[in-house]
Symmetry: C2
Subunit: 134 residues, 2 copies
């Protein structure tokens, strides 16, 4: 597989862990030992791997959690790092997201995630939003 | 200067170009020839350097443009790439932003920017927001 395909597979693993509420899978998706940052919708920046994983620990157990579906993900590779941009469909809400990956011994791992509400969503994205990656 | 300091200087140059409405300076801050992506607040992801610069061309001429001030910027370096997270104070509005830089011949250049409204802003950030980088 090309780097882009590998990065997109890592991106799907992130949303699969998110959708399943699986904290162990979410931990495996993020960097094993490097710094990490995260900006959840409406949140301040969270800095440091441990603090980022703490936010996921809380988010993943929160009921009710509607399915989350990444749409139109595009990977942009810069040597040993990569940026993925995509939509996130959560029920009838659409967000625009950035996911930054770095190449580690275990593969492409997430070091940064930001997502925020998207007010303008193309019809093509809304039409796809019934589809999930599961 | 360390990589972190260089990256933070590049981040300040981005906000200086933004605040000044200076399209040439904004062009110099972004990657010289690689792919770029951008998610403006509430927008869908914009993909491709030319399309990203087109959005800035329109944004930078839009009056009235209040001053924009980056606050509590933190740089996280991963070899030849780096993630900066910060607040953006625009008048009385606060946003949380991600800026991704890569090391190019000309220095650290922006390849991705996302910013979205921040609902929870620490008092320390509000107290600083009178200060600008100018």
């Amino acid at each position: 597989m090309s780097d882009s395909e590998d990065v997109l597979a890592a991106n799907e693993a992130f949303y699969r862990a998110f959708g399943a509420g699986d904290f162990d899978a979410m931990t495996a998706v993020w960097t094993a030992g490097q710094d990490a940052t995260c900006i959840h919708p409406g949140w301040p920046p969270v800095r440091g791997r441990e603090k980022v994983m703490d936010t996921w620990r809380h988010i993943l157990v929160e009921p009710p959690r509607p399915p989350i579906c990444p749409l139109e993900a595009g990977a942009f590779v810069y040597g040993d790092s990569a940026v993925v941009v995509c939509y996130e469909a959560i029920g009838h809400i659409y967000l625009s997201a950035s996911n930054v990956f770095v190449r580690e011994a275990g593969g492409w791992r997430l070091v940064h995630h930001q997502s925020g509400q998207s007010e303008k969503v193309p019809k093509s994205v809304i039409e796809q939003s019934g589809k999930t990656i599961h």
